[in-house]
Symmetry: C2
Subunit: 250 residues, 2 copies
């Protein structure tokens, strides 16, 4: 069997015990000889077959767990999972925990993702997507005076847009990035009270984005969305320098 051969090779391959085992399992997972849904053999047996102790084997399994590749179920067994994008969230959380100044940088990535997604959305969105967008739009209008709810509604709309793009990768990335951004500045929305004109901006912009998607116009959709981000950024800039609606009416 190929399996036995590989195990033999594993035994004499260099590296520490953990590295060996991890590399072995990793290869198996990547090669596809272990597929989602499969249940690994019991830890004791597997450890014996791989020539390591159970604690070491468990280190490797735990490592694969945080990567979302396998799932260790208590008193049941270790089963192979289809990679879950949520682990990305884990990583991003760590990656951007320290410096909060990277928020603007992460925002650039979010803009990138959404601008591409909105193009795809304009091409691929289904009627079902239209409905969801419409609902999200309605919620934005409803919650326009509620900072918390409004923030959620805003996020839901953007998520609906990305979902409508039908790109798994973009959806995954957008989710992770949004997670960071939400954790970072939760109260950012509060400047809504400062700028009365922002309400119109919020409603009108999202409506225009919606229209562009329904109108199947990728170019226009991206342009509007990009403009939307730019204006939002401008609002924040003006809030940062302490401007108010009165003075900014130029």
């Amino acid at each position: 069997m190929t399996a036995d051969l590989e195990i033999t090779r594993l035994r004499e391959s260099g590296g520490k015990g953990f590295e060996k085992v991890f590399a072995f399992l990793r290869e198996r997972l990547l090669a596809g000889s272990l597929r989602p849904g499969d249940r690994l053999i019991p830890e004791r047996d597997l450890a014996a077959q791989l020539g390591v102790s159970r604690p070491i084997l468990r280190e490797a399994l735990r490592a694969l767990t945080v990567l979302g590749v396998v799932e260790i179920r208590d008193r049941v067994g270790t089963i192979v999972r289809r990679p879950d994008p949520s682990v990305l969230n884990d990583f991003f959380t760590f990656a951007f925990a320290q410096q909060s100044d990277v928020v603007d940088d992460v925002m650039q990535a979010r803009i990138a993702i959404e601008c591409q997604a909105v193009r795809l959305a304009a091409e691929r969105a289904t009627v079902s997507d239209f409905e969801k967008l419409q609902q999200a739009l309605a919620r934005i209008v409803e919650t326009i005076d509620d900072p918390d709810g409004g923030s959620a509604a805003d996020y839901d709309f953007h998520r609906a847009v990305v979902n409508a793009g039908k790109s798994e990768t973009l959806i995954v990335l957008h989710n992770s990035l949004s997670g960071i951004l939400m954790r970072s500045h939760r109260g950012r929305r509060e400047l809504l009270q400062v700028f009365e004109s922002m309400k119109t901006y919020l409603i009108e912009d999202h409506r225009r984005i919606f229209d562009a998607i329904v109108g199947r116009d990728p170019e226009h959709a991206e342009r509007v969305l990009r403009e939307h981000f730019a204006i939002g950024d401008d609002f924040r800039r003006r809030a940062a320098i302490g401007e108010s609606d009165a003075r900014s009416a130029s």
Copy 2:
């Protein structure tokens, strides 16, 4: 000390041993009480303080290792690292190992990243970036008849563009995505021999992208880049249906 309080709280907090320890360390890392460069206390002591056995503690440390948050150095100690984007690569590798049909989907994300990056590049690129782009451009011309070298040169140029955008997040994402794409279809470039006209496309397009960046025109830069991707996609489409230059000269 706050530390002791937290440890006390940890002892009685629910969850399995591993979860407890992992959550504890995670919190510490995120909160910033453990900063990059710090060395954790020895495993034995830490395990004792946390009220778990060493194997369990090691599971948690190993988990943090694959997340790139800490580094276990043999016979030295466990030190906190600044999160390394390369772990993203690890995840993406697993995530997209099975289905090769997601390649097109990942490509969408790459396009998204690059289009945003090229805009930023047009705004932020330094003279040093110009030089690197120029060099990459020259290499594309040199290696136009060499599939392997040409592919590398192409990649280098695009990477230089993203780097010129000066967004750490975009750079990280682009790296990971490129890694997947390169692993997936390594020989894709071979259709170069089929389409003679592709040579001109390769050289001219990249030159135009370069010019747009130097010209500080974000809009134009993105448009050209997007067009570049579209044409490349078209080449692949035509190759897929077995077309050649002769028939495609319309």
